[in-house]
Symmetry: C2
DNA sequence: ATTCTAGTTAGAAAGTTTTCGAAATAGGAG
DNA sequence: CTCCTATTTCGAAAACTTTCTAACTAGAAT
């Protein structure tokens, strides 16, 4: 199940912050690391997980690696959340 | 952030299965445990986490405890996913 | 009041995840 | 070719999670 990987990927706050940062456009690994209180090795580990989950893609240019968000992978998660009833009018019966 | 708790709660496959089961209506802790290859204590632990995240509510009746799904908590997660661009037409530029 | 049943809590073992420092790699620049 | 810079990989420590068994609580039934 791809969803398990997707959800694991976004269950970590550091990885969510990385995704939030990539909303504004592709960034190099170094740029990303500079935004956080984490060592480059740690950020690299998170980027690897996000990449494996298909949530980001990488592009090499010069000796930088640029990472870019790929939100299409969230479709399966959205469907599941809707199947549980998320997104409905949650009016109280009152 | 409530989202962190919500995402942690649904990042575990056992807990997702419990939520899937509760789609069909409230169930007692024992009924839930019976559906899985886990000891009652383990299921109780998962139910506690889901309850703390606000994803389920409990109702006591006789000496049973019935658990019920509360999907409204997913709204925040949905908004965040949409803010990342999930749910858009992911047509290739081709 | 004792006993039975449904479920929870406590504490420990096993497994997984996150973080880091140090060493390794991959290219571009000199 | 050697050096430099950006980033990854390795290996270990620390922190967290999941699961279990055993002991406990709450209430219903006798």
């Amino acid at each position: 199940m791809a969803m398990s990987e997707t959800l694991k990927a976004i269950s970590d706050p550091a990885r969510r912050q990385i995704l939030n940062l990539l909303k504004t456009g592709p960034q190099s690994a170094g740029d990303i690391a500079a935004h956080f209180d984490l060592k480059a090795a740690t950020v690299s580990y998170h980027l690897k997980l996000l990449k494996e989950a298909g949530l980001i893609s990488e592009r090499r240019e010069k000796n930088f690696i640029y990472y870019d968000l790929n939100a299409s992978v969230f479709e399966e998660v959205l469907s599941w959340l809707y199947s549980l009833g998320a997104g409905e009018n949650n009016d109280d019966k009152k």
